[in-house]
Amino acid sequence: MTKMKKLFVFMLAFTMLFSAIVFPLAVYAEETTEKETEETAAEGEENGAAEEEATETEGEEGTEPEETLSPEEQAEKELAEIVEFEEIAEEGKYTNMQAWSVSPSNWNAHTYETSDDGDFLAYFASSLFTFQYDYESGEWTKGYSIIPAMVTELPADVTAEYAGDERYAVPVDATEGYAYRYVLRDDLKWQDGTPINADTFIYSVSQLLNPKMANHRASMMYASGMVMHNAEKYTKQGTTSPMNIRDYAKEMGYETVGELIAEHGDMPALVNWASSFGEMYADGEWVAEGFENDTVEANLPISDMKALFVEKALEWGQSEEEGNEYYETETYINYDYPEMDFSEVGFIKTGDLEFTLVLDSPLIGFDFYWYCSDFPLVYEPYYEAAKVETEDSDLITSTYNTTVDGTMSYGAYKLVGFQDDKYFELEKNENWFGWNVPELAERYPADTIYAQIVKAPATRYQMFLKGQLNSYNLQPDEVEDYRGSEFIMYTPRDFTGSLQIQSNKEALEKRQSPGINKTILTIKEFRKALTWAIDRADFAKTTTAASVAGFGLLNSRYIADPETMTPYRDYDPAKETLLNVYGVEYGEGKEYDDLEEAYAALTAYDLDGAKELFDIAYDKAIEEGLMKEDDKVSLTFSFGVDNENSQKTFNYLSDHWKAAVEGTKLEGKLEFEYDPTAGNNFAVNFKEGISDLLIAGWSGATMDPFFLISAYLDDNYRYAMAFDPDGFEIEHEVEGKTYSLTPMGWYKAMMGYDPDHPFGKGKVDEEVRIGILALIEAAILEDYSSSPLYYGTSASLFSQRIEYESPDLEFHPIMEFGNVYYLYDDIEWQDYISESDGFLDYH
């Protein structure tokens, strides 16, 4: 064989090898699709049978069974996917064309994690009752109204029926807020026509709380605003977890902790040495270093722990009672959660179409409607089939709601097409009860929702300009071009981007080296100077699309009074707090006449003041021996992702800080390192002292700012671990009497967790609670470990094809911009685009 022939043979073999890998894979993918569709068809038949049975039993008008395609037709349908809008456009049809930057990956209501998955899931689910979209005389209603959805009427408070019932621990004297009865509509169905009744709810909640599955969304039944009776115990049955000693005593039937100690004083105690003492007691001595910030075995009986807490309280100049209070709130005991039947959980079937919810903490009015409107349903046949047990795990995981075939809707739309990282397609679910309720039906005007996964913003932008999308989220450098456009709308977000500054001395010391200093961050003046040196309005404008300068931890999305929809930020104490923190004065002889004027002028930007503070901090650092004169300060700025925005943020802040130290003793000594490698560990890295600077914050719980503030206090969530919410006290007057409590103490009082200071909801006037909240916020801000930089706001363009219900695009905290109305059907819209030569102008 000649060389050329050998070469030819080699190339041929190479091509064959390649083909042998490529083609089978492609064919496998196709065959998999066909196989899945075959399975779908088979399941469709079963479901059809179920539907017939249900129709006969109820003797009501049945629904038309879904059109069952042959496997070949199904496969053909699957393969004939859509690329362009033109291919699915029809006269009289309204298609909602969307582009998502991230593909939904798990829309199982029990386990979903991302907000994208949550948004996707919402298309297939319904709530029991819902907030109504309506407005009066051209303005959004300031309050709210609620209409029944899956229920026939709003749930009745049946607390009286359960008062004194030991099974559900409802207090004897309880009159309202503990138990609610839900009566379901009789036309609730899954997308295949299978009826939904009380059993469906019971099964779904029992699976959500299934102890073998440890679904993390189970906590919504006991760790959010709603505390369903025994939900936590049922979920954690068979496990051992630390429980606060006071709760433990109550759980074991003792009136006081003292009674527990008297009988079981030798029980081993658990404690978090770092957060309770800042030191560890071991072998009869206090140890200053080398212990972790975690709840661990104290190696002491609970009786001895009390003495330690009292000893330390006295050492800190506090009373014995305060030491005892620390003891009872910060000492833990391992609690063995007993085996339990679901019938002991406060979620009871009381009729075929009726169930009752029993709560451990009463909820009344808005709070009940806000927290208790949703018990996510799962379709039993699919859910059971989706359970997965693997060899190397004792956990039952679930693949439920991760594919088209495994998804069963009880919402307005049903899933008809999905390809990971590519697209999804939804069609109206004909079996949704809401089509019979005009107020609900009008919220879903689109016949089809077709969403492509488009990760590049530039592509989304071009698609939008060609009329292929209903809306487009503007990028920071695009907002200015469209600022005056009639198609731009601004959506305030509940996220406040705060600069987290490391001040954990021990962690900083570990990461500094000769000539390189980090511990200057422990000096408050230095942290304060860093924040004062930044013009937050300019920062927000430069680095974000439409966000605005942020000064408080809670922005205007946080509603303190739902009855009037008044944001916390609009209350005088909330404004006063920020003026005090940032040193702005008003009144006679001051720069500003009144509170409103001063608040409106707030910038929190003082470059000269920052320079002075840098000098003070430097002198202090030298004086305290934290750094030497020739040392450089090198700070690591951590980001979760490496993208243009992270780089822009880093460059903006580092440049401005370097410029701010010019002319100070730190000139030429301040350096910053860009570290975008943290990924999902950005929070844990910062908490453990691995990074020095971070922009992060908390969102969620928009209707409960009182609850959200705990994210800045609680060890589980707080970024600034060196800030001790129990380490100092603040005096504050409540109803004519002055109290002195720690920030955490005020939080507990405000939430009603402290029986000695009953300032919880309903116990005191809401203005009092708002005052306490402002007090806590000030305490956190004044530490300068978490300094807000911007209030998140997004800007987007909406298509010329649609308009919103909201007058003048005014944003409502619950209703947002209201319903969408289509001005053109698909064909009319195509004509409209053609008339514009294929390009739409939104300026």
């Binding site: 993918a29 690329v83 990956s105 060899e391 990760k455 592509t459």
Partner: protein, 318 residues
């Protein structure tokens, strides 16, 4: 026989290397701290319970044995936990791989002939305007990042002139005409730098070979320029180029993160990175196993290919 023994030895060594790499991967990824994924209002104890049930608290060695038992004995690569939770990791990978391979295959078959042809032409026209033009184009193509081509291709071909859709077609009909058309922008964007690289190396090798004494001898023997170039020059020039082309084969299985992102190719580009960032053990181990195994295989194939291309090279011969 030498080759057979050599190949067998390499395969055995490959399997040992594979096992070592996989063990290291498993141990290292397990040593990394788990991301703090507790959202506000979520129960940390419940999340820790979930991890405990998954055996995360066991010694790494024990976890590894359980993992091997699951994968080797039961052929189960598991489901996603932190990345695409609840989805079968092998299913996702197999579902996404064809899209990546399809785009890369088209790019490969477009780039290799063009790259070699341009390289030959430039070498034959050395120092003439054609050579300068090609060399300059190559230089530009190599210097400009691929996402710039991608955006230019998309802007002109898809947005301005509307010849192609913005994104690769959805669905699994990989061999349909619509699918082919929809992949063209991505293929073009992918091919620029590949063509440029191949052109440059072909030109460089061929230019050197064309000046060899044996080329002069071939011409004096009476061969035409074409005969001498094809039979002698090109064949010798291909010795260092062809293994490079074969190595490019590996790249077909690892998608370009940027190109896939811009042209909506639902492929595996970025999946590996995502699995590391989100510390999803099942995805990470599957992808590590696949790419490690494939990389080692390619190394053997490339080494063996030298013997086919140039008979003077004998693997394993004493």
């Amino acid at each position: 026989m030498y080759m057979f023994k050599y190949t067998l030895k390499r395969i055995l060594l490959m399997l040992v290397t594979f096992a070592i790499i996989m063990t290291i991967c498993y141990v290292l990824v397990k040593l990394l701290p788990q991301p703090d994924v507790v959202g506000f209002g979520q129960d940390r104890a419940l999340i820790e319970r979930r991890r405990e049930l998954q055996g995360y608290g066991l010694p790494i060695g024990q976890q590894y044995i359980r993992f091997l038992n699951r994968v080797i004995i039961h052929g189960d690569w598991g489901v996603g936990e932190t990345l695409r939770r609840g989805q079968d990791v092998l299913g996702i990978f197999i579902e996404k791989l064809p899209a990546t391979m399809l785009v890369n295959t088209y790019s490969f078959f477009l780039s290799v002939p063009l790259g070699i042809l341009f390289g030959i032409y430039a070498a034959l026209k050395k120092n003439k305007w054609q050579d300068h033009f090609i060399s300059t184009s190559v230089m530009i193509s190599n210097s400009v990042p691929s996402y710039v081509y991608a955006f230019l291709v998309q802007y002109f071909l898809c947005f301005k002139w509307g010849w192609f859709p913005f994104h690769m077609k959805a669905g699994t009909d990989y061999f349909s005409w619509d699918m082919f058309v929809s992949t063209i922008p991505a293929v073009l964007a992918l091919s620029f730098s590949f063509i440029a690289g191949l052109t440059r190396s072909t030109r460089a090798e061929l230019t050197e070979v064309l000046t060899m004494d044996y080329m002069l001898l071939a011409r004096t023997k009476g061969m035409t320029r074409r005969q001498a170039t094809v039979r002698h020059a090109l064949r010798n020039a291909m010795v260092p180029i062809l293994p490079g082309i074969i190595a490019a084969f590996l790249a077909m299985f690892s998608g370009s993160i940027i190109i896939e992102k811009i042209f909506g190719v639902p492929g595996v580009g970025g999946l590996y990175l995502e699995s590391v960032q989100s510390l999803d053990y099942n995805f990470f181990m599957l992808l590590s196993a696949f790419y490690t195994f494939f990389g080692l295989m390619i190394a053997i194939v490339v080494d063996l290919s030298y013997g086919f291309i140039d008979p003077r090279i004998r693997m394993g011969a004493r």
